[in-house]
Symmetry: C2
Subunit: 306 residues, 2 copies
């Protein structure tokens, strides 16, 4: 076993507290040594708090940084970290635009560092078995349904509706990340209908017509962030032989023709950090851009509906 | 000198008649042997007309195909041509989405064929000297102004305002293609303001805030397709040493501190076909996606203004 990788966590908001701190506490690969936040709170014992990334870098003693800041500032901060010789993990979405991710990936490659665009839903338990089944039996159709109540999961947050806030694509990119991870073929956006509320700049609901190189119809996504009642995070595939493959609970469950293949508690972040460790030890990057690219494609092809 | 490459032209609309047919007639590298259009007219002597790509392929005797169809159908047609073993040139924009271009590039690579995403403005006379100057002296600021009257250049055309029609980004991507070809650093979209007229889905005017890895401000684009009077297709750079580099006439003219460096008649398409020939002979592709990616990024970050 190698020495643990010394990691600093930048941005101590909800996702850091709920997912990153527990995953790091349980990780055999990493040791959390520092955190950084303009107003650090809930700092674990034995971890050094900093007010800025510059201060954290100046203090030294870290090998890698995980960014849980709002996406607007990730690109600049990640550049600073890479320039300081640190491996970088970026929460999703990894940046505001695909061009930024590609630039960070080139920078990491040139410096021999690992960049990890951490699309957490790709590490849900259903993803690997779904990918194997779809590779073997083909995807004839796909229906994504991703519906939840934004007020339940993000009370009081309103930057989603500003330009760059992505609206319903903030959760929707999770579905798209699972879809691209599972499908044996590339996925394209063919058209989109956006529901944008008056005075807002991003959609609260979106319907996407999708396609693959060999399937022009039968691939759809239905995103709704104004949904009341029980949330739905499901992807249903019709296999080429007629079988029915159904992913639900955001990827924590998978059924084939009604029979349960996967049913687990959420374990995305422990797997995600294990992958980050494997990237660092193999001197590789994983700078996945497809989910964000599909979202941008949908914006560029969108029809606004009432 | 090798044998001329036998080429078929698909889509005999305005751009084919005004640019592709004359460029091919003057090319030492290509021989136009077939055209294809649902209603072929103005077919040059000695060239075989076909009603469909399938018929053109079935007739045989061609090595390459140039697509001048509307962008919505280019991806499917290009796949068909690559599957038939033909080299492919795509007018700009090469497809509806970046994901489609990447898929075609992978297909071409696997088949040992050349794919050329032909962003014609990249072949304007000012581009190569501007690139050399900017590489040597740095770009401290950039101001793109691309203003023209859509009714003057495209009378009666209204698909621009439908989803996927791109609106003012149809000419605007020409400016973006020049910018990415000239700048020594990557270019990012930081924000955008779109003017979309009632009942339309794409912007008639757009203002972009752009950035590079080392410059967060001073890079802008001003696109207006509702402009009256003389058109403007210019890019002004402030060099790091204070020099003023000015590209105008869409890239046909270039001045440095007021002194003319380039002043030529439009010669984009002859250069473009010479590049296509060099790609085919070197068994390479040029599947440039950055202009379309920047446009999609602008849509995804846009603020709608009145």
């Amino acid at each position: 076993m190698s020495e643990p990788i010394r990691v600093g966590l930048v941005g101590l908001g909800q996702i850091a507290r709920v997912q990153h701190l527990p995953a790091l506490a349980g990780s055999p690969d990493f040791r959390l040594v520092a955190v950084c936040d303009p107003a650090p709170s809930a700092v674990p014992d034995g971890v050094t708090p900093h007010r800025s990334l510059a201060a954290m870098i100046a203090a030294g003693g870290i090998d890698a940084v995980a960014f849980c800041t709002p996406p607007q500032v990730r690109y600049r901060l990640a550049r600073t970290a890479l320039a300081a010789g640190l491996h970088v993990l970026l929460e999703k979405p990894p940046a505001q635009t695909v061009a930024e991710i590609d630039d960070l990936a080139a920078l990491a490659r040139g410096a021999g560092l690992s960049l990890f665009a951490a699309w957490h839903s790709m590490f849900a338990g259903a993803v690997a078995p779904a990918r194997r089944l779809l590779a073997a039996r083909g995807a004839g159709a796909m229906r994504i349904v991703w519906r939840e109540d934004v007020h339940k999961f993000h009370p009081g947050v309103d930057w989603f509706w500003q330009p760059g806030g992505m609206g319903v694509f903030d959760p929707g990119v999770n579905a798209l990340s699972i879809a691209v991870a599972c499908l044996p073929e590339p996925l394209f956006v063919r058209g989109a209908r956006f529901r944008i509320r008056p005075g807002e700049h991003t959609p609260v609901a979106a319907m996407l017509d999708l396609a693959t190189p060999t399937r022009e119809t039968g691939f759809t996504a239905d995103f709704d962030w104004d949904h009341r009642g029980e949330e739905t995070w499901s992807i249903d595939w019709t296999l080429d032989d007629g079988g029915a493959l159904s992913l639900s609970r955001g990827g924590a469950a998978l059924r084939l023709d009604g029979a349960t293949l996967v049913e687990e508690a959420d374990a995305e972040y422990p797997r995600l950090y294990a992958h980050f460790a494997s990237l660092i030890r193999a001197a590789r990057s994983d700078a996945e851009t497809r989910p964000l690219r599909l979202a941008a494609d949908a914006f560029s092809l969108a029809r606004r509906v009432a």
